[in-house]
């Protein structure tokens, strides 16, 4: 059974509705899209599918390959046992398979693109023996896959449930325990594969870079957990600069250090490595701010749509207002102890949070573009620019 057949069966097993969509099915013809002002997902899809053609193959499911083809671990089988329970792992698994926003495998794609954009180091002959496909060394491809493995591993580990916080609505305890068990083991399995992949690269600097990216990511996820606001709890008072540090850890570090590592693999010098790092960092930041802004930008949103009180627009809004006024606004939006997100959203939209978040997004986007300027013009570089443009587009 081919990997694709396996994957096409998964959504049904996981109880997802709708067929498996993804970049495999949406390769579109080459069109210039910079002039378009549509902010539809189709545009983002186009950017990504264009980019995938440039790097030679669709990058979807890079991290799932090892999970699904390994008989010993049989993770898919174990996850299936969770169908009907409320464990978050099921949602994570569905999200991994059901590609609705083309945000999956984005890190891997960027690593491949930047590898191609930088090209081989003409000054250094030591890479001449590496094999190259579509302008990318196989070790760089491997690195892209490792990046996705690390990202997915922590995605899975984010879905662990605290057993002493369970309520009766969460279902039986043993289901949650089993779900936790599978989530831990799956995440560990992905990390182990990442470590093995890193060892095979035979480059200790790259291992150090990615290991430190993992350490950053773990800290970032820890902060995310701590600041997850419960319905009735007021969020912590963190300013935008703290938010930026924490978001760098949880979203920027992995991509930034991966891009740098890709340059190291091709033996590029420190300057090139730094530019790659800067692109990865700023692109990731701007992407995160963009996704934080979505609940506030979309014209038609359902009233029940919640948003993260620790997202960029909200943190900025809070900073403008000052702590006391913000707490007052939250209280006003609470009805019988439950937060009325629709009301709070309107309050935030009326303030300066949203516009300054858009500005911040563009700030990071432009820094990313600046970093790209030091790379020679190429298809790959254009694709990287297009990704940034797509992320900065709000109108």
């Amino acid at each position: 059974m081919s990997l694709r057949q396996l994957l096409s069966r998964l959504p049904r097993c996981l109880g997802a509705s709708g067929p498996l969509r993804g970049p495999l099915d949406t390769i579109s013809s080459v069109i210039s899209w910079r002039g378009q002002s549509s902010r539809s997902p189709a545009q983002w899809n186009q950017v990504v599918s264009e980019a995938e053609k440039i790097v030679g193959y669709p990058t979807s499911f890079m991290s799932l390959r090892c999970l699904l083809s390994d008989e010993l671990s049989n993770i898919a089988m174990q996850v299936r046992k969770l169908v009907g329970t409320q464990h978050p792992l099921l949602t994570t698994a569905r999200g991994l398979v059901h590609d609705s926003q083309n945000n999956l495998q984005l890190r891997g794609l960027v690593v491949l693109l930047i590898s191609k954009a930088a090209g081989p180091n003409s000054m250094n002959a030591s890479c001449q023996n590496y094999d190259m496909v579509s302008g990318i060394y196989s070790c760089q491809r491997s690195l892209a896959e490792i990046t996705e493995l690390i990202h997915t591993a922590l995605l899975v580990h984010r879905g662990i449930v605290n057993l002493n916080e369970l309520q009766s609505s969460d279902g039986p305890l043993k289901d949650m325990q089993f779900g936790n068990k599978i989530a831990i083991l799956s995440g560990d399995f992905l990390l182990a594969n990442a470590c093995n992949g890193l060892a095979l690269l035979q480059n200790t600097k790259v291992v150090e870079l990615l290991a430190s990216a993992l350490m950053d990511l773990v800290q970032g996820v820890y902060y995310e957990n701590s600041t997850l606001a419960k319905e009735n709890r007021i969020t912590d008072d963190i300013g935008i600069s703290t938010w930026k540090e924490q978001t760098f850890l949880s979203h920027g570090a992995l991509l930034a250090k991966s891009c740098q590592a890709a340059m190291e693999l091709a033996k590029h010098d420190a300057e090139v490595q730094d530019m790659a790092f800067q692109y990865g960092k700023h692109m990731a930041m701007s992407h995160k701010i963009n996704s934080d802004l979505q609940p506030f930008i979309k014209e038609k949103t359902s009233d029940s749509l919640t948003f993260n009180l620790n997202s960029a627009p909200v943190v900025l809004h809070q900073e403008f207002l000052g702590r006391d006024l913000w707490i007052k606004q939250i209280r006003e939006a609470q009805e019988k102890g439950r937060l009325d997100y629709a009301k709070l959203r309107e309050t935030i939209k009326a303030g300066k949070g949203v516009t300054s978040a858009i500005d911040l997004c563009c700030y990071h986007g432009n820094k990313a573009l600046e970093a790209l300027e030091s790379f020679p013009p190429s298809e790959a570089r254009t694709a990287l620019e297009n990704i940034v443009f797509a992320v900065m587009r709000f109108s």
């Binding site: 662990i160 449930v161 399995f189 200790t204 290991a211 773990v218 820890y222």
Partner: protein
């Protein structure tokens, strides 16, 4: 399964259930020649009485041991007393732990340095088990092996910084896996205190484990040796695969034993074997020495886990007056159970349903204690130790080499 390093104390007079043997109360270094002989003899009889299929299992295991000595002899080739004349310094260490700790001063402080991050609570969680109270068995084996290999290679009496780093890394990888295992097993206590998951919750505990692993990987990368990185990343994979092996069960009895040994290797022995191999690679270019180090670590590791599995049945009823049977409660069929099942086939059904029916745990325990499961597992552990000693004896004599020999005996004779 319960990992009992912390419960192991070095005692001059070790007491033990009649089933397994203990050395005499005097010189810790000398192997007790008479006592194990008796146990081995008893075990041989037990083997003879066992059913045919069991004999087949043992035959296949025996063939894994080359050059087996007669079962009545359990000794090492160089008693400590004779070694004095061959030692470079005039010092005489009878305690392998003391000998090993000379190189491990500051071990826990150094580990905590690797975990230096700004997130206070996460740091606290990650440092929780590196409090200096553990016995640090794995680091001790690592540094002793490092010295033994260095001396064997060129009589060097130094331990390289990179070799000492392996000791830290081994302990960190071990601890990271413990933290995750405790969440998986929903354990409440370890090493006499509450587990990380009970204090801080499961979500944060998993992150703490990931953090320790990432710190270990950074330290590993900094050694700057790609071979060593490959050797130790293998351990990380084995640890996870070992846990997965535990999730599944085998129907066939012969398969079950092989499955049990494979899981034991992956979960316990792989780390020790590969850490030993890593320090030998750093200290000596000879592949034969790397293999010796690996085999020593592997055999001691398996023996250690076998004894651990025995203690789960025997220790608490002695000392606490009530059994824990932690492995049974987790649904795990370990060595004593698998052997007992040979004599009491009615245990098969319980094994297959992982002791989930009410009363299963107690019944299984009774069967094990009535059978010779414990004796046979002990015998098996002795054979692994014997093999470890045989391998390590190939190295040039040194205090450290002899300490490693003593350690393998300590593995067998510890009690709770």
């Amino acid at each position: 399964m319960a990992s009992c390093w912390w419960r192991w104390r070095w005692r001059r007079a070790c007491s033990w259930r009649p089933a397994a043997r203990s050395p005499g109360p005097n010189s810790a270094g000398r192997a007790a020649l008479s006592a194990p002989r008796a146990a081995a003899a008893a075990a041989t009889v037990a083997v003879a009485r066992a059913q045919m299929s069991y004999c087949n299992i043992m035959k296949s295991l025996t063939s894994a041991f080359q050059n087996m000595y007669g079962v009545s002899r359990f000794h090492h080739t160089t008693p400590v007393a004779c070694c004095c004349s061959k030692m470079q310094s005039g010092e005489k260490y009878t305690d392998p732990f003391k000998l090993g700790w000379r190189d491990l001063k500051g071990l826990y402080e150094d580990i905590r340095k690797e975990l230096f991050i700004s997130t206070a609570e996460l740091k606290e969680m990650s440092e929780y088990y590196f409090d200096g109270k553990g016995k640090a068995f794995r680091p001790i084996i690592v540094v002793l092996m490092a010295r033994a290999c260095n001396i064997h290679h060129n009589n060097s009496r130094n331990v390289q910084a990179s070799q000492r780093a392996i000791a830290l890394i081994a302990e960190m990888i071990h601890t990271a896996s413990l933290v995750h295992d405790d969440v998986i097993d929903d354990a409440s206590s370890r090493r006499g205190k509450h587990t990380v998951n009970k204090i801080w919750g499961e979500k944060k505990a998993v992150l703490a484990g990931d953090l320790i692993l990432s710190a270990a990987s950074i330290a590993l990368a900094r050694i700057g040796n790609t071979t060593v990185i490959s050797i130790l990343t293998q351990v990380i994979e084995d640890l996870v695969r070992g846990e997965f092996l535990q999730l599944g069960s085998k129907e066939n009895e012969t398969e079950r034993f092989a499955h049990y040994l494979e899981k034991t290797f992956k979960k316990t022995a792989s780390l020790i074997a590969n850490s030993c191999k890593a320090v030998s690679v750093l200290g000596c270019p000879d592949p034969a020495v790397h293999e010796i180090a690996y085999q020593y670590g592997k055999n001691v590791g398996i023996a250690f886990q076998l004894i651990d599995d025995i203690l789960d049945f025997t220790s608490c009823s002695d000392q606490m007056g009530k059994p824990t049977s932690a492995d049974l409660k987790l649904g795990l069929a370990t060595g004593p159970v698998l052997f007992a099942c040979q004599q009491f086939p009615e245990m098969n059904a319980m094994i297959m349903r992982r002791f989930s029916s009410p009363g299963d745990v107690d019944r299984a325990r009774q069967y094990v204690l009535q059978s010779d499961g414990v004796q046979q597992t002990t015998y098996l552990a002795q054979r692994y130790c014997h093999e470890a000693v045989r391998e390590i004896s190939k190295l040039r004599p040194s205090p450290e080499r002899d300490a490693l020999i003593q350690l393998s005996e300590i593995v067998l004779t510890r009690d709770k």
